[in-house]
Amino acid sequence: MPDFELIKKINQNDDQEAFKTIIEKYKQLVFGIAIGFFHDNETANDIVQDVFIKFWQIRKDFELKSKFSTWLYKVTTNHCVNVQRRKKIITAFSFLSSKNSEDKNLEQKLLQNTKMPEKDSFREEHIKNALNKAINSLPKRQRIAFILNKYQNFSYKDISEIMDLSVSSVESLLHRAKTNLQEKLSDTYKNLNN
């Protein structure tokens, strides 16, 4: 059944079966975007939950102006950006009293390796941290474009629809995002070799 018919059923009859079909169809995609932002299972599942609950709450007033999927990805990216902003504020405050939690996690993981220091897992963990930090520090629009492109393999055209931009703007955003990431990851090389 096409999306617009499912939406109509949800919209007019509170149809839970139709709602379930929509969730089953899109949950993994919403989750994938959230993973790109948070790199964490629990937070990503929370995002999926929030997004679909929001949709259920506004179902009566929901008007399908564009493709449902486009609307859904738009809401998802907005929500992720907002949650990320809130988390950054919380981290900034907790930083005043203790060390950065990411650094703490890394320390703890390294302490758990009580046998021989595993150089590979250290390296992997280090690169993973650097990558997540690098993505998170990208300017908002570059970050969104990069995540949609790299974590979901969305085409430039899909991204342009989700972000309300022209295809060429998306192209240049992605180019800048990757150049920025490259620079930040070069620093990782320096850190790993110091």
């Binding site: 259920w56 990757k178 990851l185 990782t188 070799n193």
Partner: protein, 144 residues
Amino acid sequence: MDCKNISKKLIFYAENNLPEQDKKLVEKHISSCNKCKQELLIIQQAFGIINDEKNLQVNPYIYTRIMAKTEQKNTSKIIKYVFRPVAVSMIILMGIWFGHKASDIYFKNQENNILTEEQQFTEQNEIYVVNDISYEDYYFITNQ
């Protein structure tokens, strides 16, 4: 070409997104430059990490979780719109009862029976509470 210019191209090389000419330049450079080679390895590893993350799966019970949450929200709405006003009304009623008790004692101790401002205020409250309860009764009837 120097390291700085090569470094800018490495991420595009890693995702196989360079024109053939640039691709050859990068390959030639990294064959003799360990620093750029290591940088490329880091980028390739970073892309590998992204690919691993892409394999993560959403909670298979997410639908149940969502429905439970939406029902929880409905319940909290009932608490908000039905039970809370009822509880508030009860507290006000108890307040009035204590008020009456207190005023009885007060007036027993007073010779004159002139209405005080305090008592007038309490009587106004009484009218409000009666209206409130009748509204709640109405709510229950219409929702049954």
